[in-house]
Symmetry: D2
Subunit: 374 residues, 4 copies
């Protein structure tokens, strides 16, 4: 460990999806001096550190089952307004280069692990973080506990392969991923950390600040109902009620965790193809205050999912790599700030998650004594 | 000091207004076992302490320039849905009793102070907290620095009188109140604390959690515009552009304080008589994220202003009385949680204000050694 | 026929429900001079006519399977803010009198018809309009075409009984009611008119003016999604997916009918008990204009369902009774203005429905030559 | 007159502004087969007629005081998402050609008239419609009645010049334009029609369908408040309170006209530069129904002003040219459908304006006997 930040690889499961392509295009744009760091929380003064692998130095590769090459996907995202169209054109060559490191998904866990090791060696990387941004999987039947590697869902097989290959693993999706006792043991055994699940980028993010507000004012939340309308690849997948169930459950959890009770109401996800990556979510909160007076708040969130998620992918890669370098293994509940359904025991209020995150970074600093201050 | 909580008086400037009447009715309802403590933050486990004067034990009095007696005002608030109509009927006698302690505003500072002393003595109170819930004053011309007591605006004259009489002072309005060097000196000289200004009960409350969310995610807030529609007594007064100016300025301050820059946009207040105490506020926030993608969030707040403000009046009375009992004098920036425009140096994010408040209460505990735990 | 308006009875199926109770209380309040005619469209200058049976003259009775007497139900609606609490108290005696005419639902169609005839005779009525405001029924299995009277759903049995007894029938619910060929034949045979279905009081009402606006401006509606949150008795029933299906289908129909194509998106109904009779609906419309630019509109409707529905019940009673008196039999598509899913061939745009309604009233005038002008 | 549609010129006052540039780019795109007719109401089956000058045949010219040439302005609008960026590139040559016909504003009315005549002759046009899409003017001082041509505001001088040159005049802005007795006389004397004022493209459009809905249901609108947030060139101008006043007055008029009374509340316009051409408007409507129950509706409109206005410019050119060809002179109240503040006596409800417009087109048909049906 030294003040020369380690060479870090980012292996994306679902590397040709919207989130992955936006993350890669953004990192390449930063490297080329064509973009700023808006949206990257590790660039905020409170978190920026010299020992975090710089975004421009990150090396990308990944698996996907889709064929559309990255430059073409970036062009489509440009046309849709997710990223500036001129960036997609300006970075065609660089995107093609990354695309060359996107491989078809091997059928076996060992095959996945071999690809990871090969990637690390080919690029002379100190370490690799595997990040799952593949399509959301259906909620699995509950007999996963005794499943062997090959019968697990893809996200868990990716985690398994990552751990075998000595790589950290981050699950940005609501899929099972590393959330199985056997995988937790494997991560500890191989000395690698993992984090997740389900990136928090919209309605749930807002909930994680509004629910604590109602709690701190001792206002009783009587109902909290929400409707999420989204198109895009992920939207189509979530139209499947089974996948939907995984997502909506993690979306209401923050309420019970923060308020101490579950208000009436549900959160729904509807697929509306024409909205593309630009999601709209509406939440209605009815609450009562002093002497029972009933009041209401509602909000609408018009967010671009991939633009919100992409910088967090870069943040998670940097922080998880640094935790790995610092010797951490097993779950990283300190990254709860980034997730709808954080692994391990972590606070649900965003402000508390933020405190936890800044302490985490402060503590890690001790592991990089030569690195100095930013 | 002992575990028998001190006898505490609450003197309301504007005692026949909506906020005051709702606060008094609520305290009487609690005493009679007719209502719960929703909305009272000092009843939350994190803040409840045996040494806080219990709400049912508070003794009320005040000044007002209006004639409508409290029972009649409570009845009107019941008809308007601000509080349950049956409470107003059930508590007529108790409200009349309080009304007997509501006096016309004396013309001189000394006269106000004499009323305060007389109130304290008549009821055998250990101390009295003066709380300003009178109509918002116009922004004063800027030559207040050298004004003498009798030429100051009413809110500052109330503070002056409070300090002379050895009473703590809380300003729940955006008026000048104790915010003058001469008054600060007077408070310290008489060994009394003061707090303010401008109770935070709606749009600004929401801003104080949403703005930190955008900041923590490194999202650039490009514009934040708001429209507040309100009727009621306070609404009519705020229709006056001069009073309005004081209020809207304190409403945007939280943005610059939290974000580190001032986004485009303004906050407006319009008087819409028919809305009565049920305010509606709409805010539109446009923000940009990674690679410049522009997104939007909007929220609508349908709140009952007096129902939101009243329990905070009781909280502020309890906390300020305890601070006074513990020997604190001068400003209480630790009460920033309650205010749009906190006195002294205090954080602007609600979560940070909450931490400050819980530490404050923790620290005060040391001053009440015999009180034990709740 | 003469300028003395006929004595008219209104028989409510579901007479102890929210809509029925609000309608009856309102009519009694009008009779007692305690309320105005806001919300009654037959009181607008464009529709008011001397030959319409005056609201105060209407005589009420009905069937219900619930026991809560009308005065108690009215009291509950008063406490919930659906109607003024003081009205419920002031009209206890009058409500009890109506309640005496609310009978348990007879098991047979003949039994229902007998109750109708007895009601007409007991009160010396010229005619009776049966209005279905009972709970929404599940969508029936599709073999109703050959069903006999006793195996039909309750709404159709009510229509059958009405026709047998020579009464007009109005279905304010999305249930099957008179919408069966056999019932249409029966109505014509007995010379009575019928109207329906599903009172249009909220989101669909708004759709019926906004959709024509987009159409008239040649703007392409790409998606229209909605979420309805409601408590109350009807909300609980609609939580049943089968009943829900009937309702949401009729809610999207207006779009295809007005725009000429079906935009993406669905309308959902969720039961949120705590909202009671005060529904909240949110709709998001995405549309594109000249050169493909995409835009959005959203609206939120916070309506009190029963307060919106009740005056329409009185309007429908008056208009249907007059049509009956004028000799009309079979469906009354001219009443499409009132319904989400109008019977017969009728325009879907509210403005066109309004024109149709005013012409209808104009035409009916010819049947009451002695009545003069209002 | 014959079935060969007349050659028609469109002279734009403010030809290099957003609305003008979007209208011209759109017409050129249609001519080149690169765009469809969404947003053009004269392309709807109810209005399309063979005798309307086809959009691709329109010949453009204009005056402006700005220098930015049309291709550059179109490029900027493309980057801002108002129109597709590729259209601006594809049509550079055609836009340059139109730009050659955009002249600096002559100092005298005669000079303007000479430019109009020269344009008509140079292009061999049968007639020219002058359309004012220049920046909104401040509300004039009220002594315009006796002003001579040269002291009138620019919009009125443009109308004067148009009439002198035998051209029809349309005012799409809230400026004075032709709304002066002297100008009305001049138009009739020269046998030319005129129309206006202030294109109806957003909040007011929605009001013109919602207000009639409340009226038709006999619901009492208690308050209607609105906030319009807009950037763009027009937004900057409207930040000027004087110009703002003209606009907000015309925005509330529709309520009094439709409801028969003026509800409480005002409409505001705020300039928020970062929103550019994408306006956001929020309206809150509080209303009461049967027995006084109070309810609320709110809507948010996220519209692209220029994309909404541009096709209407083409519609107005076509309809006004046809009216001129058919021998109409003086005001055209039948075009009220397009305007916030229609000239002459016209209904305020959109549906009634639509009926008036379709009758108008039907009537005009008689003047083009050879034209046949579309
Ligand atoms: N704001 C956000 O965008 C956000 C927030 C939280 C979670 N997520 C999750 O991130 C994931 C990616 O979202 P997206 O919008 O990029 O979706 P997407 O559909 O655009 O991309 C998913 C990609 O995964 C690939 N894929 C599918 N199965 C795979 C497998 N077994 N192995 C490897 N690749 C596979 C697909 O081919 C596709 O390229 C989703 O699971 C989504 O739920 C996104
Ligand atoms: N949520 C909230 O309600 C809220 C939040 C922040 C601030 N405030 C402030 O609280 C104050 C009270 O609000 P309200 O809704 O009760 O208003 P209100 O108009 O109902 O009551 C104000 C009372 O003050 C009295 N008054 C006026 N001048 C006085 C004077 N010089 N001395 C004594 N009494 C005087 C009036 O007669 C009236 O009874 C306002 O200044 C308001 O801006 C309220
Ligand atoms: N705005 C509106 O309120 C609105 C609009 C459109 C349609 N509707 C329909 O009107 C109906 C009434 O609504 P509500 O809010 O008054 O509901 P509610 O639940 O308050 O009342 C329904 C009543 O019907 C009675 N009932 C049930 N089955 C019956 C049967 N077979 N015969 C006789 N009575 C029976 C119930 O006991 C109850 O008293 C519902 O079907 C609803 O969908 C209401
Ligand atoms: N939806 C809409 O866009 C909408 C709706 C109603 C009314 N309007 C009105 O249309 C007008 C144009 O809107 P815009 O967004 O294109 O504004 P803009 O600022 O983009 O364009 C106005 C143009 O007028 C030019 N101009 C100013 N004074 C002039 C003069 N005296 N003679 C000739 N040209 C002059 C300016 O240089 C500029 O190019 C405004 O008055 C606006 O209020 C627009
Ligand atoms: Na909204
Ligand atoms: Na809203």
């Amino acid at each position: 460990m030294s003040f020369v930040p380690a060479r870090t690889g980012v292996w994306l499961m679902g590397a040709r999806g919207s989130v992955a392509t936006t993350a890669v295009t953004g990192a390449l744009a930063l490297r080329a001096g064509l973009a700023g760091t808006d949206g990257c929380v590790t660039e905020l003064p409170a978190l920026a550190r010299p020992w975090l692998p710089p975004i421009p130095s990150l090396v990308f590769g990944g698996h996907d089952i889709a064929d559309t090459p990255l430059p073409k996907k970036a062009e489509a995202l440009g046309a849709a307004g997710v990223l500036p169209a001129h960036l997609a054109s300006a970075l065609t060559a660089e995107l093609s280069e990354v695309d060359a490191a996107v491989l078809p998904l091997p059928p076996s866990v060992d095959g996945i692990a071999r690809d990871l090791v090969a990637f690390r060696e080919a690029h002379g990387l100190d370490r690799v973080v595997v990040i799952n941004v593949a399509s959301t999987e259906p909620v699995p039947s509950d007999d996963l506990l005794n499943a062997d590697a090959e019968t697990l869902p893809p996200s868990s097989r990716a985690a398994w392969a990552a751990f075998l290959a000595g790589c950290a693993y981050v699950d940005f999706t609501p899929s099972t991923g590393a959330r199985l006792p056997a995988l937790d043991a494997l991560a500890r055994e191989h000395g690698v950390p993992y984090a997740g699940n389900d990136g928090k980028t919209g309605e749930t993010l807002v909930k994680s600040v509004l629910a604590p507000m109602f709690a701190a004012r001792n206002l009783r939340v009587r109902s909290w109902s929400g409707l999420n309308l989204l198109g895009g690849g992920d939207g189509a997948r979530l139209a499947d009620p089974a996948a939907n169930a995984a997502k909506t459950a993690s979306k209401q959890r923050v309420l019970a965790d923060t308020l101490g009770y579950q208000p009436q109401g549900t959160t729904r996800i509807d697929y509306v193809e024409t909205l593309g990556d630009f999601k709209a979510a509406w939440d209605l909160i009815s609450f009562s205050g002093f002497l029972g007076t009933t009041m209401r708040m509602e909000f609408t969130w018009h967010g671009c999912d991939s633009a919100l998620a992409a910088p967090l992918i870069l943040d998670l890669a940097r922080l998880t790599a640094a935790a790995h370098a610092a010797g951490r293994s097993g779950p990283l509940p300190e990254l709860a700030f980034f997730f709808k359904d954080p692994i391990g025991t972590a606070p649900a209020a965003l402000a508390d998650q933020w405190s936890l995150l800044t302490s985490f970074v402060e503590d890690l600093s001790g592991s990089f004594p030569g690195a100095g201050e930013v």
